[in-house]
């Protein structure tokens, strides 16, 4: 009997969520499936959360030219300081890395989910699902990730291979920067005499009061 009780206690302990010790307050209303569906727009790399619908590169070109090209450029090259969407392959290890959908984004979902939630800039969450698939397909095509005939949908999701999918790894500062942990840092004659090799003033890009946004 006592063995049975302790086994049960162990099961209860292991299964208990970390926050089980706190009481319930019975505050808040149940969220209905309908309420959740309107806001539940996130998409994972494996395509979980992708909506129904489809769109072709060709359909996407029209949407892109009308709603995206003014900022991102007709070829994804960017106008001014707006984010560049295409090109940049092979630049990540250079002195001037260009991070684009083709050169940097690791997953299709990172692109699609972002367009779905935040674009077009100033008119977010206005595109239909088919338009989202189409414009995403066109951006992929600008990066030579899919061909001109490609139709993006939940079914073709896994066919898209992002060039920089293997370009990321988890934070490793605790090991690669272990030298920065030091209980007794140097206090005296730590480095040879140093000299000034650069001055912010020489670059002269510090804003003055006249260039402040919102200041008359």
């Amino acid at each position: 009997m006592s063995r049975w009780v302790s086994a049960l206690a162990l099961v209860a302990y292991v299964c208990a969520p970390a926050s089980a010790q706190e009481r319930h307050y019975n505050i808040g209303l149940a969220a209905t499936p309908q309420q959740i569906s309107g806001w539940d727009i996130d998409i994972r790399p494996d395509g979980v959360g992708a909506p129904p619908g489809q769109g072709s590169v060709k359909q996407g070109e029209d949407i892109y030219m009308n709603q995206c090209a003014a900022c991102h450029g007709e070829f994804g090259e960017s106008a001014g300081r707006w984010p560049q969407l295409a090109q940049g392959k092979g630049t990540l290890a250079s002195n001037d890395p260009v991070k684009t959908v083709g050169s940097y984004f690791p997953y299709l979902s990172s692109v699609f989910d972002y367009i779905r939630r935040a674009m077009p800039f100033g008119n977010a969450q206005s595109l239909s699902n088919d338009e989202l698939y189409a414009v995403t397909a066109y951006v992929l095509n600008l990066n030579d990730i899919v061909d001109d005939k490609f139709v993006l949908s939940k079914q073709t999701w896994q066919q898209v291979k992002m060039p920089n999918a293997g370009g990321f790894y988890d934070d490793d500062r605790q090991t690669t920067e272990k030298r920065f942990w030091n209980k007794n840092p140097c206090m005296k004659d730590c480095v040879p005499p140093v000299k000034i090799i650069g001055r912010a003033r020489a670059i002269d890009v510090t804003p003055d009061e006249k260039t402040q946004r919102g200041v008359e």
Partner: protein, 419 residues
Amino acid sequence: MQEPNDRRKSRRRFLAGAAGIAAAAPLKALADNLQNQPPNVPEWTHTLGDGVGVRPYGTPSKYEKGVVRRTVPWLTATPESSVSFTPLHALEGIITPNGVCFERHHSGVAEIDPADHRLMLHGLVDKPLIFTLGDIERFPRVNKIYFLECAANTGMEWRGAQLNGCQYTHGMVHCVQYTGVPLKTLLNEAGLKPNAKWILAEGADAAAMTRSIPLDKALDDCLVAYRMNGERLRPENGYPLRLVVPGWEGNVWIKWLRRIKIGDEPWFTREETSKYTDLLENGKARQFTWVMDAKSVITSPSPQTGPVQKGFTGLSGLAWSGRGKIDRVDVSLDGGRNWRTARIDGPIFDKACVRFYYEFDWNGDALLLQSRAMDETGYVQPSKSELRKIRGVNSIYHNNGIQTWHLKPDGEVENVEMG
């Protein structure tokens, strides 16, 4: 704009009044109007001032109008997706006044009617819930002081000294007291499924800002906050609800918080892949680099504070660490060759700013001023060259290298790069 004479005048006043102990100007510089100086009796001593209620919500003296957030207009394409910087050079203590806390928005400030705001909890929970602001306020409250630093703070200095002002080099940080409910309490209310491992936090702004956070952190010390420094969150800082993620990069502190989804894997959103990842020299990038490493900066004197006087001089600065409490701050007057321990004054809280001072007699020789923070885990703020050896210069984010200010014989201070 003001006339040049006015600008000079207000600058002198500003230096004397607001810029901290090192920038205290000599008395003769204050003599703008001898009518107000002894032995004369100034006008404000003869006449009545404003009565009560003239300023129902008070603002600083008109002589402090230079203490404002500032922008770097060339930095971004549009002010709606941009940043303004905390005027660290003009502040003291550890608490940042709400009106000058730096801003970083990705699609502008959402102006939310609190009566219509809802927070939804769903996903791997027993009972999906929707809370009103009033619901959130019914839960037991906690008050916590934390720093919040944008991952890109000091990001413009990776390749060398670029911006001549502490506000611009280090002003994407602030430190306030939050009032809110532990996120753990809300997650418990919904009931976590056994396979819950991650949460996705989402904002109600036009960026619908979204970040993945491991459940361990969510259950540890995260808050859903509705007040800062006693009053409601400012719209710029996420009114009416924001996530507080102590010690972690500001981007995960989702403002205008509308939804928390519980899942078993991270989502790899745009903000945690194409942005807020740290590109290294070999072309690979670190992801999920949430913790802000220990960092410090001398806020006064600094390039915006104006001339330092010979004789007794004080350095004033801020230090913080995302790994815990600040243990110690050292300062160097010779560019990092020799160090001495600074005096910390005021409270030392976990993952909050501390204020440090170092006083000495300045003989007028040029100095290279630096500070280095150490936290309770033994982490020591590295020099910029040590940091670049490991990370290169392309990572944009997480630049916590030691800052150098050149104090020149004329008392002016400039941002310099050492070699």
